[in-house]
Symmetry: C2
Subunit: 465 residues, 2 copies
């Protein structure tokens, strides 16, 4: 399991830094902090009190502060608005990464936004307002506007000259985008291309014209998949006029993949994913409740169906109480085997290892797996019945061995049917254009409860009455 | 859910290409294929028959073929060994990405390896053998050896000259590593640094000496976390002598995160993760069976405990058969609420949103959430009992309303206790140094089955007898 939390070593450094702040040793502090990576400094600042923060912030240069702030917790950045003066805040904001800056702007209250805007220069102001306008989960909402452009008529020397002039403000440049006078994207060159080429070569002669790009309103997940598939450091984002509007960097792709991972896990457990992706502590108990209750309540209501099935076999249960004892096992075993099969199939489809047209292959394979599982589970069940019910009262000519064999047989059938349902349901959902992940645990647990009870009481009626 | 499979558009292109191959239109074929990205060509080649493959491969230039092969399915690359002649195969292998090449080498049979080696040049041969020697899941096993190095005494002009000389064989260069004469890493410069600097500047004056690195035997997951945390395009990998042994690129980090995602999902469902990460179709039914049976069988055996609890209340069940009817609901509801709480807490800890020292905060929050859940589930349960059991025979002075309230109360307690167990178990596992993910579904389902039945029959004994 991945863990990006603060390590012991960082804890130690944190306490040293707190000590230096309290002793007001600003020079020593500055010496330590300036040797650290921006993201590490941000981790430290996240842990400080407001007072400590106020004394440590002026140690940094404006540009560094921008990098550091881009890595700080959103919460703290918002609170900072009321702690430092507007001008200083505007300086930090101006030097921040453009995507984080736009997120921060959206997190501020309406009146805070209006107070901040006059302190920003025209370019930054427009950039913030523009980037904040894209809906969440689109390429536009995660792109940055720091990129280098050149024109196709330039020579390599001229292009390098332009990059040198523009670059100090850009965080990271590897691709240089080639645009026409209307900012329409023509292609790209890499810094490596520029370095390898003769200085007098024209850009249009080394231009890569076949490029992969995203659209501003494209789903961020599809953008992440492109970055991953084509191993890109950054992907250009074009608007409807094919103008270069921004770039999405590879580290955003990782964030998107992690967010989707959380969403998948939640879907698997019947939790409604949160579109704002607030973290655990930010979400109130009532919001947590709302995310979880929908499926729990639906399941509870659907439970009427299983309740009705059990009721219709009430007489059988009264005559042969031992049947009741093994009912929970039918539900549990079905839920477990079904969820396992669903997980494996859903994941293999997501990774592109399985395609829906291979459904006969999948179902046949799962059938063979389920036979093996059924043999083992059936044997254990038989032993369990003999062991647990050895002194149970049996009516008429029924023997415990016969009852045990019957229950074990029913359980084996349940394992096979639940596995096939678990593997089949995601395929059916996918076939009709849905997300196979919704066919995970919740839906399957419900379905195999019903089929399991029908199998169980069906077998019992056939063999014991 | 992410999906990296072949799209409709690609399907269409595939059929055109197959048509051109069958018509032996090699020139048109070449024109189409050369405009495509290497990874797209690889997707297409994966779908061709051996015969088609043989006629299309010679279309490409050697170097392109190396890029394409690096993106092809491992299966096909292995089969290719017997289809094409050794010399051609060696040419493809030589031009492949060094990490994929090492993986391929390990996939070949012993005698195939020995047949291949003499066809490789000395440098490639050593590189293959060296990279194959690192254990799976280490930085060494996923690093590549294509990187550019310069020395600190060089000027920027000399450094650029060396890169120009070395670079054509390197896939992607953004960081240039600064090493001493023993290959010990001193720091790095970016291409941007080189372009921005005066040509006569010495490398040692623009060198970044504080750098983040990985060690060859470091777990690949920790490497991925570093790449993500520090937003790196590639991370240098040092051996025990602090010599630069390779680099791990950002796209590997994404692969690692995806693999860990699969592993997490499997752990959540009680499936034993596969160290070789074979895909669904490669894994035989028996191997699938082995991955799933361990938890299923353990759960089935642990079921003895729930069986014994139910047995000890057998008399209560015989007297009041209605109790048996709602037993499966206790197990299901507990499993569902517990798994939800566990999923949310485990995920929040993995993302660093929650730390273990916040356990009182977590437990209290989950307690409040569970009260809300319990109220809703309890109300539904009460309604369910009234609706389903309206004509049930009740002994003595018990009324259906009283029974319904009792069962609803027991269910509410089960919701609260299961939520707290679900949230608490991962915290306890983490506290003792384990991976919280193992505390997911399987363990919790078992535990809340036991506590649920005790609560259910406890409440029933207290209220009804």
């Amino acid at each position: 399991m991945e863990n990006v939390a603060v390590t012991d070593q960082q804890e130690q450094r944190l306490s040293i830094i707190k000590g230096l702040i309290d002793a007001n040793e600003l020079e020593a502090l500055s010496a330590i902090l300036k040797k650290m990576q921006a993201v590490e400094v941000a981790d430290i600042l996240d842990e400080l009190t407001e007072e400590q923060l106020l004394s440590v912030l002026p140690v940094f240069e404006e540009e560094d502060l921008g990098y550091i702030a881009s890595n700080m917790e959103m919460d703290l950045l918002v609170r900072l608005f009321d702690i430092v003066d507007r001008k200083f805040y505007a300086k930090i904001v101006t030097n921040m990464s453009s995507d984080v800056r736009a997120d921060l702007y959206q997190e501020l209250e309406k009146d805070q936004q209006l107070e901040l805007l006059p302190y920003l220069d025209k370019k930054t102001r427009e950039d913030v307002i523009h980037l904040s306008s894209y809906p969440p989960e689109t390429a536009g909402s995660i792109m940055v506007t720091d990129f280098a452009t050149v024109q196709s008529g330039m020579t390599v020397t001229q292009a390098l000259e332009k990059i040198r002039k523009d670059a100090p403000s850009k965080k990271m440049i590897y691709y240089v985008y080639v645009v026409d006078e209307h900012m329409k994207m023509r292609g790209f060159v890499t810094l490596k291309d520029l370095i390898m080429a003769e200085p007098s070569t024209l850009i249009k002669d080394i231009l890569n014209e076949d490029f992969v790009y995203a659209e501003v309103y494209e789903d961020r997940e599809s953008v992440a998949v492109k970055i991953e598939k084509y191993d890109m450091v950054a992907i250009p984002v074009l608007n409807s006029l094919k103008q270069l509007a921004g770039i999405v960097r590879h580290d955003e792709a990782i964030d998107v993949i992690r967010a989707e991972h959380t969403e998948d896990l939640e879907k698997f457990m019947g939790i409604v994913p949160d579109p704002e992706e607030m973290n655990y502590s930010e979400t109130s108990p009532f919001q947590h409740f709302r995310k979880r209750i929908i499926w729990l309540a639906s399941l509870s209501i659907l439970g009427l169906l299983t309740g009705m099935i059990i009721h219709s076999f009430e007489e059988a249960i009264s005559t042969l109480v031992v049947l009741a004892l093994y009912m929970p096992m039918v539900a549990d075993t079905g839920g477990n085997t079904g969820s396992q099969a669903a997980t494996v199939v859903i994941r293999a489809m997501a990774l592109g290892e399985l395609k829906i047209k291979q459904w006969t292959h999948i179902i046949f394979k799962e059938f063979r797996i389920s036979i093996l599982l059924a043999m083992v589970i059936g044997t254990i069940t038989f032993g369990k019945v003999l062991f647990l019910s050895w002194n149970v009262d049996l009516p008429g000519e029924l023997t415990l061995t016969y009852i045990g064999l019957g229950i074990a047989f029913a359980l084996s059938l349940q394992v096979i049917s639940a596995t096939l349902i678990g593997a089949g349901l995601p395929l059916i959902v996918k076939k009709f254009g849905g997300d196979p992940a919704v066919a995970a645990s919740p839906a399957i647990t419900t379905l195999v409860d019903v089929t399991g009870l029908l199998i169980y009481f069906g077998v019992a009626t056939l063999l014991f009455f």
